[in-house]
Each structure stands twice: as structure tokens, then as C-alpha cells.
Amino acid sequence: MKFGGTSVATPEARMISALRVVSAREQGFHPVVVVSAIGRRGMPYATDTLMGMLREIDPNVEPEPREIDLLLACGEILSAVIFAHTLKTLGHTAQAFRGGQAGIRTDGVYGNARIVSIHPVSLLDSLQGGYIPVVCGFQGVFIAKSGAPGGELTTLGRGGSDTTGSALGAALSAEAVEIYTDVDGVKTADPDYVADAPTLRQVTYDEVAEIAHLGAKVVHPRAAEVAMQYGIPLWVKNTFSDDIGTEIVRRDKLPGRRLTGVTHTGKLVFMQFDLADARPEDRVALTTAIYDMMARYGVNLFMMNLNAESTGFAVPRGQYPLVKELLEGLVIPLGGETLTTYLFQVGAQPSREVESQAALLAPLGNVRRVVSELTEGCTMVSLVGHEYMQRPGVYFDVLSTLAEGQVAVLQTSDSEFSLSCLVPESDTHRAVKLLHDRFKLSEVR
């Protein structure tokens, strides 16, 4: 039973969560609990607050990933101890475990470690001793070399606590893994946008993974992947309601054509690089340079496109300042003896930096600009389904629905499980509602 941040945020929420654990025990199960950090943004032990304590020392000095992991793991340790004590106040003995104490071994990538093995001997001892183990989500231990005492604490990155829950479920051959959150399960749309969006009773791993890939938060695909691999039933449930929730199943357990829902990403900035002015023999080098830079700085790309004379993609608005800093005024000389110098410009209007670079480069002669057309304030709205996107006419149905609703579509992309449209951010709500209504998703069960 894994409890997310909202389920452990307050004493009241923790009591409701603890009572669910007690109820499972009274039904004859041996529950193992995994908890997320206790703090939410702005609270004393929230990730942002903890990171702020490092940054305020000197914002220009980047903290070491190893030290960040040690610091961030405190949130889950605090949560596990408090949850275990809450259970004790209800008359049930419980023991808190760090990830490493629970036997979770990871690779050595701080901040985004992957679980390589679990040796849950301490948890089994705890269960046999009559305790309820309460394990810190999101963390494990990297053993750099055999015999190294204790190992290095690592964190599992996004969705880390969900992954802890699934992985422990697999290691313990659990009856089921239950992920508790503050919604009834996987819904056909964000209930803030579509109030009557129904909860899906079953959904496949692929659909959940695609929804997460497109930016919506449900259960993390890493958790679903582990559960599917080991054949452990996985449920998403609401701590605060008695709804039965959503079961995540393998594709072969839920065959057939259907629509899953409409999702939307966060805020994006779309960039389209015009290479028409570049020499044809230089275009591969220029495009390679753009993507190399995005890779090196860990920029997350959406809605990519590529053709002989241009390439483009959307980036999260939070990463846009970094992308702009990387590309604005960038100079790439190419061509050896027949040197051509390329100067990158972000947006239609050259900045002062670009103009000064141009002035400096002018004596070199052959200087060409690579201009990135910029569309700020957009988002991606996606229709997700199973064996549906290949149906003739689905593109027409989506684009005509949005056109009738006066929603401009700037670009599209699709995959086996989804069809996405880049739309102005101000139209997100309308676009989600229009597609949800057009495809009768309120009738989906």
C-alpha cells in the first residue's frame, strides 16, 4: 500500500491512510506500507524548502547530486517514522525502514537511480515479528564495491515512490499493489477541465504510460512496468473515498479498440528552426548541433518534426530560458576552406546579443543566420486510445472538432496510442472539453 504526498500531508490525512492499513490487516492481509515525503511546496520539509537551504548559501554554486539525494531523502524518512508511529497509536506495531534497510539496491545515478535488485529480508523479518513495515519511497542504496559499508543513498527520480511500491510488491509476491492518491483513479480527463470525467475501471500499462509521456500525472509508468513484468495486480485508489479505483492491466488482458481519454501537457514553447538559408551540405551538421545541445543539457522535447529545410520541437516553458541561453547568439563555423559562419537567432527579432555577434562576425564575410520561429504560450492536447488511432478519419474528426470550436491547431503528432495537437495555451480548457464531448468520453467506463 503506497500513500502519496496528499495522503500523508496532514495528521487527519495520515490517520485516514493508517486506518486503511489497519483495515487491510483486519481482513487478514499482511500490509507493507510505502510512503512519499510528508511535505508539499512551501512546507518545512518540502523538496523546495530543503533545496532552498542549500541554494541560499550561494545560488551560484551547484550542489552535488550525491548531497542533494541525501538531503531529499529526509522527507520520506520523516514521513515513514511519523506514519509508523501513527499506526502504533492505533494499537498496531510498526517499523519504519529506509529504502536501503528494506533491501532496495540501485544503480549509481544520483537523482534518477534505477532499482537493480531487492533483498527484502528485513521486511520479511518484520512481518514475521508481527510488525507493519513502513518503507520510505523514492530511495535506495548504491553499493559501489562489495564490502563498502552502508552504500550510497540514491533517489529514484520522478515517480520514485510509486516504483518503490511496485518493486516491493514484486519482491514480496504481493496479492496486489495499491497506489493511494487524492483522485478516484485514472480519469478520462483532468476533472478540473471536465467535471464529469468518469473514472476508468481498467486501463492498460501502455495507455497509462502514454498518458504520463504526454504530461499527465497518474501512476508512474515505471511502477506499472515493474508490476506488469512480475504479474502483480496494480490499483490506483483514492485515500479519501470508497471508490473501487482503477486497475492497471497488461495489454492482452484488455484487448479491443477504445478511447482512453484526453490529456494535456503543461506550458510549452514551440521552436521551428529555418535551415533554408543554410548550404545543403551544412544542414546535417547544424541540425546535429541543435539536438546535441538539447541532449547535453537534458532538455525534454515534445512534438518533434524534421525535414530537409527545417526542424522543430516544443520544450517545457520551464526549460525555455535555458534553451534560449544555449542557442541565442550561438556561432557555428562550417566548411573548412569555404568557411561559412552560422549565427543562431531565437525569435523573429534579433536581440542585442545577436546583433553584436553579427557585428563581430561581419569581417569574416560569409555569415548566415539560422532563425528559430518562436510560438510561446502553447500546450499539447492529446487524444489517447487503444487500437484507435489507425482508424480512418480520426484526424479529420479531431481537427474539424477543434476548428468548429475556434481552436487553432499549430501542429500535430501521433503514435500508436495517441494523437496530439499543439494549441494556444489559452484554449486548453476548451480543446479538452470539445474532444471529450466529441468522442463521448463521458460514456466510457
Binding site: G28, F29, H30, R105, V109, N112, R114, I115, V116, S117, I118, H119, P120, L124, L127, G159, A170, A171, L172, S173, E175, D206, A209, E210, A212, H213, P221, R222, E225, V226, V284, T288, Y291, D292, M294, A295, Y297, G298, V299, N300, L301, M304, N305, L306, N307, R391, P392, G393, Y395, F396, L399, S400, A403, A408, Q411, T412, S413, D414, S415, S418
Partner: protein, 164 residues
Amino acid sequence: MERQHTSTQETGFEKKRGIGKIDVRTGYAQVLVSRLEGEIVQARLRLLEAIKDAQIGIDFLKLTPSGLSCLVAESDSEKISQALQGHPLRLQIHHDRSIVLVHAVNMRDEEGLIARIVQKVIESGAPIDHLGDMHDRVLLVVPGAHAEALVQVLETLKGNELAH
């Protein structure tokens, strides 16, 4: 209801980062439509309606300044020409296209991985007609004759933790 806990063995869990598998799907045609006349949004919709009426499934739709491009099954390429007859436009069909699928689990969590795969593909010099992505793979549309060479390049990257 009680259950015996027997799994005390160490167990391997998550899949490795980076490229895990490469597949190729053959038998597609690339459709390029340009010089559409009139208001572009409505012109594109008329085109897509004609394609729908002809019961042709399309993938990789991209909107271009004067039209659109998409991928259809090779067996539908003749059908799409007929469906678009009579529409004022310029139609080009590039036959023998393949989709190269580069599988990499949880790509979105490995920051920079998608960009790194695309960079390696472009660097290889393979002519890419289109590219796309989904939760566990990057999809590349290439001329059929170039698919095998591209696969060879990508094979050399398997097992590398490209995002780190």
C-alpha cells in the same frame, strides 16, 4: 487469506536505460500535399475529409505552410491519389518508406535521451522524412533503402546510457 512470503532471492527489476531494441516496419508511402488553395485550415479539412471518405488510415500527419504531409500504407497510395483527384493541390508520393522504431523505456524520464537519439540518427546521415515519439520509442520514417543502414548505426548505441 494468509499468504506465505517466499521471495527472499535477489530479483532484477527495472529495464536498462537507453536503446533496448530496434524494429523496422516496411510497406509505407509518404504523401506530400502542397499548394492548397483558399483558407488553409478549411482546405486541409476538405482534404482530410476526402481521405476519411475513402477509408484510408493515415499516420505522422504534419501541417506545412501550404498543405500537409502524412504516411499511408503502400497499398493505399493509389487510393489516396484517386481520393484527392479534383482538389486543387500539388501531390507527391514517395514510395517504399519504412518506419524504424527505436525502443527506449521511460524516455521522458531520461532527460535528453530523446534528443540524443535524434542527434545520433541525424549525424548518421540517414535521410529522415519524419520523426515522432511515444512513451517507449522514437519513430523514424526513412526511405526503405536506408532502413538497414540506420538500424546498423542504432545497434552500436544499444546498451549505452545515452542520457548520461
